[in-house]
């Protein structure tokens, strides 16, 4: 393993980390914006919206992210009316195509997570809020959503890691993300391991940082659900 090549080209990898971070963060953010209304509508079985959302979630969760990305990047550009429209400004760029595919994908997974969390919210919580005189909108925004999102944290943490790993697909459509940087290094110096191992280590470092952040968040926001035996015995007066 020639570490000197990696060190000489650290800027390549720094750029890759930045692109991966951007794609992951933005697609998670926009995906969440899709998922919150969709998840709520699904949990409440809104008549006309439910089957549509179901179809969307089923399509994006049931197929590979790579193929979704291909369909948007290679597939849409074959149509003349798309190439002539304003949307072409975005769709001709690999970066935007990746962002769109990742956003829709993450949105579908997050919809399921939020739906599950909303459905398992104890009825007593919202009933208590209504009994205290909160309007339905207030119950949703002040009680239901904060409570559901807290309990969705562990699963959402998995989704964040899943998206980070999924974003490596971007390198396949020419984007210089972490893996893209690794492939460029390998091609430039005709080496086989260096680029990939560096990419693997970088992904690993980011993954475990994210896992640690979520563990802290869970400790903070799920404290009320954690009944730890250690704490319990502490509470018993000696």
């Amino acid at each position: 393993m020639r570490v000197d090549l990696v060190l000489q080209n650290w800027e390549l990898f720094a750029g890759g980390v930045w692109v991966t971070a951007q794609l992951t963060f933005l697609s998670l953010f926009f995906g969440f914006c899709i998922a919150l209304p969709c998840g709520l509508a699904r949990a409440r079985r809104v008549g006309w919206a439910s089957p549509l959302i179901n179809g969307y979630v089923y399509l994006f969760r049931g197929t590979p992210l790579l193929v979704q990305t291909y369909l948007i990047y290679y597939g849409l550009s074959q149509f003349e009316f798309i190439r002539d429209s304003w949307a072409w400004i975005f769709l001709r760029e690999a970066w935007w195509c990746a962002l769109i595919a990742f956003t829709l994908n993450s949105g579908a997974y997050a919809t399921e997570i939020i739906r599950g969390a909303v459905e398992t919210t104890p009825k007593g919580e919202t009933e208590a809020a209504t009994a205290l005189g909160l309007a339905p909108r207030q119950v949703t925004w002040l009680v239901l959503i904060p409570s559901a999102l807290r309990r969705a944290l562990p699963q959402y943490g998995n989704e964040v890691v899943f998206m980070l790993h999924g974003s490596a697909v971007a390198s396949v459509i020419t984007i210089q993300d972490i893996l893209g940087a690794g492939r460029t290094l390998n091609a430039r110096y005709y080496v086989a391991y260096e680029g990939f191992i560096t990419a693997a280590l970088l992904y690993m470092a980011i993954t475990f940082t994210l896992v640690m952040i979520f563990r802290q968040l869970e400790k903070r926001y799920l404290r009320h659900l954690n009944i730890r035996p250690a704490k319990k015995s502490h509470a018993i007066p000696a």
Partner: protein, 231 residues
């Protein structure tokens, strides 16, 4: 856009689908073996075995499948030839399909390690102790008491891993494997209709997922405790 063009390519796409399905099934087989070994290593309580398994699952959970596949194929290619050169061998070409099976099995073996370990821990300890008190040997206990229940407890997690594994096979097309995705990509470029071909691939994957869901639902019903839900 010409939907009819797909008809000419049905044999080709079917050939790709066979490659994809074989890759997934063989990958699952390898993953099951690695998962069982991993779970056994973790449950054995051995220091070295436990540390090795932990290293294995940590690497797999930290690195994207795409990176691991590229590393195993291109890195493996280089490794095999470096070793081959020492013995004066000619250039050795690694099989793409083999590398795909190896990668998929390696990745999902780590996830199955957790699935199997979790399932094993769900088996009440009293049952194993009861079997021992009846004079059954360790192997007989494992085979007639633990494993039949392991199947029941592990099935939902196993089904989950399979669904993720199937989608992961698409990524193997990156190393040039002529699977469903790789062939559809080539065909779509040749006839300049990528949209139709990738849509067909999406439909095929939805079909795989749907069929496997039915199969696993059936299995879960069959292995469920009578009078209990399938979990």
């Amino acid at each position: 856009m010409n939907m009819l063009i797909l008809i000419d390519y049905i044999p080709l796409l079917l050939r790709g689908a066979v490659v994809t399905i074989s890759l997934a099934l063989l990958g699952l087989l390898l993953a099951t073996v690695l998962g069982a070994l991993g779970a056994a290593g973790k449950l054995s309580g051995g220091r070295i075995a436990g540390a090795l398994v932990r290293l294995y699952t940590t690497i797999v959970r930290g690195v994207p499948d795409l990176v691991l596949i590229l590393l195993i194929y291109f890195g493996g290619q280089r490794l095999v030839n470096t070793v081959g050169d020492l013995f004066g061998a000619d250039y050795i070409e690694l099989s793409k399909f083999g590398a795909g099976v190896l990668s998929i099995g390696f990745i999902y073996g780590a996830y199955l390690t957790e699935t199997f370990r979790g399932a094993y821990m769900t088996i009440p300890r009293g049952q194993v102790e009861a079997a021992q008190s009846l004079g059954m040997g360790a192997l007989a206990t494992l085979w007639t008491v633990s494993i039949p229940q392991l199947v029941r407890f592990a099935l939902p997690g196993y089904a989950n891993v399979w669904q993720v594994l199937v989608k992961s096979t698409a990524v193997v097309s990156i190393i040039g494997l002529e699977d469903l995705v790789g062939l559809a990509n080539d065909a779509g470029k040749t006839v300049r209709e990528p949209f139709i071909f990738f849509s067909a691939v999406l439909v095929a994957y939805l079909f795989f997922t749907w069929v496997s869901q039915q199969i696993f639902n059936n299995l879960e019903r069959r292995y469920a405790l009578r009078g209990h839900d399938a979990g």
